[in-house]
């Protein structure tokens, strides 16, 4: 039953991260033809923005070493956007050489994660991103900035909201078009999310430039999404089938599953353009390929039951 809830947006854009964020932690390399079929199926299910891969050095993420090969074989359409993660100027050069028109950079709200993920301080990472964003703009590219660890950090614990606002402001001052707020370890709750979005708004970063990126580690992702929608956000990151869990623990969960998000949005009467049945089929197919069940509740509920 479709029953709207007052105060929510009428339309929400889903930014699908399964092929990049979902697959990057998979230890066994997924063949490029499987990745290509995955993206093609996601597009056929109605997803219009699909982050497909990353131009990070293959040494760090062997799973995405086939970025060029994948981009070469993907179906193209004027209404399909395939943003690609770009860590630095070298990555940007690869993106430009492959006709990429949307990129994402990946910043951190905390020093600990900047050090571990980027081998830099937060300041140094922003210095690294500045020429990337500048050149991307001069080439006419759309640029998204991720900011990770916006609610908590495994080494630092709670992350103060003002610290997130400070780093976010500097990323956006580089000229990024969109900021994706990543609760990378999934510890946030709806009041925290709301307060963060309000603080960003007070600092001049309005909800029209925000996306939210929740992980379901503590089961909070969809409740946090509801809070973000109520605060005015209209772009939500999610991962088909909830791909992105730690591969060593079968039951561990990763990103907000796109199916669970779509179930809620459609129930709220919010248009997404997604055909849920086709999306579930796609995640069920990918789960078989990966050899373990999807953590998405909707995929579990709607997939064919084992005999």
């Amino acid at each position: 039953m479709r029953v709207p809830l007052s105060g929510l947006p009428r339309r929400v854009s889903i930014y699908e991260v399964g092929p990049r964020d979902g697959l990057q932690n998979e230890k066994a390399v997924v063949p490029v033809d499987v990745k290509s079929e995955f993206v093609t199926r996601l597009a056929a299910a109605g997803l219009r923005t699909i982050e497909t891969t990353s131009f990070v050095h293959p040494k760090w993420v062997p799973q995405l070493a086939d970025a060029e090969d994948l981009l070469n074989v993907l179906p193209r359409s004027p209404d399909l956007r395939y943003p690609v993660l770009v860590p630095n100027e070298k990555g940007l050069q690869r993106a430009l050489s492959n006709g990429v028109t949307e990129i994402a950079i990946f910043g951190s709200a905390t020093e600990s994660f900047a050090r571990r993920n980027l081998n830099r301080t937060v300041d140094e990472s922003i210095d690294m991103f500045a020429p990337v964003v500048e050149r991307a703009h001069s080439e006419g590219l759309w640029v998204r900035a991720y900011i990770s660890m916006v609610c908590g950090d495994p080494w630092e614990g709670d992350v103060p909201i003002e610290q997130v606002v400070s780093v976010a402001s500097r990323l956006m001052e580089l000229g990024c078009s969109q900021l994706s707020l990543g609760d990378t370890i999934g510890v946030g709750t709806p009041g925290h999310v709301t307060a963060l979005i309000e603080a960003l708004g007070a600092a001049g970063i309005g909800t029209e430039r925000l996306a939210v990126h929740f992980h379901d580690t503590y089961g909070q992702a969809l409740a946090n999404t509801l809070a973000a929608l109520r605060a005015g956000v209209t772009c939500v990151d999610s991962s088909a089938g909830g791909l992105g869990g730690c591969p060593y623990a079968e039951s561990a969960t990763g990103n907000l599953p796109t199916e669970d998000l779509v179930w809620m949005l459609h129930g709220l009467g919010i248009d997404t353009g997604v055909d849920l049945g086709r999306l579930v089929e796609t995640s069920h197919w990918m789960a078989r390929h990966l050899g373990r069940p999807s953590p998405s509740r909707v995929v579990q509920a709607l997939s064919p039951k084992p005999e």
Copy 2:
């Protein structure tokens, strides 16, 4: 980090249903000493209302055939409430003989489920409950009414809100103190939940008499809980470890896990009295007993990892 969200209650009562609703579908009978330890641990973790068992005929729910034995060995304390499900007058007699002071009856919003679960029409089921509630009152008992299938029904599909309000009103007119709204198949979304609570309020059943009982079949349970809290509900049913899934599918999910609820409430700065660490230990212990992992995200995240 504890960050309140405006418009939410300051305190929420958790109505723990794991020992009854969680265990009743388990095929392998759990020994009474394990059940007793389970309830004792839940109480030690700070839960104050624990639905322990049911006086349904053992033929229908063999798992709960030991109701008397369990009640005889449970620890007692003035601040601990152990409601027991009572299907009919015979069940009430057993409850009274065992010193039970809180009971719950279990109604259905739909004819299909009333027929299948109670072998009666909705009208006939209310006729069956009337003398139970009347006698319970004359004996000084507190009475909760469950109403199941409030959002959807496996046979009838969407359940109209006015139909739920009609059945709910008749149950409450019997004199029940509390009404627990059960989205038994987990299909509801936050707008539907909000509209239902508002419609009940308009019919004279205020939020002070309501509880919500969500199943996480489609991943909506916590988002729906957030919507219910915002609508003014202050009593939430949940099941330690998310017990209550279909036993034939390892990954299937059942009730809203108490741990995931507590994580959200504590993050929102809402007091529950629950020690989350002790609760997770309890669910981890029960999961080992049942031989499969808990579907609770929090239990998965905080339990010791397999070597």
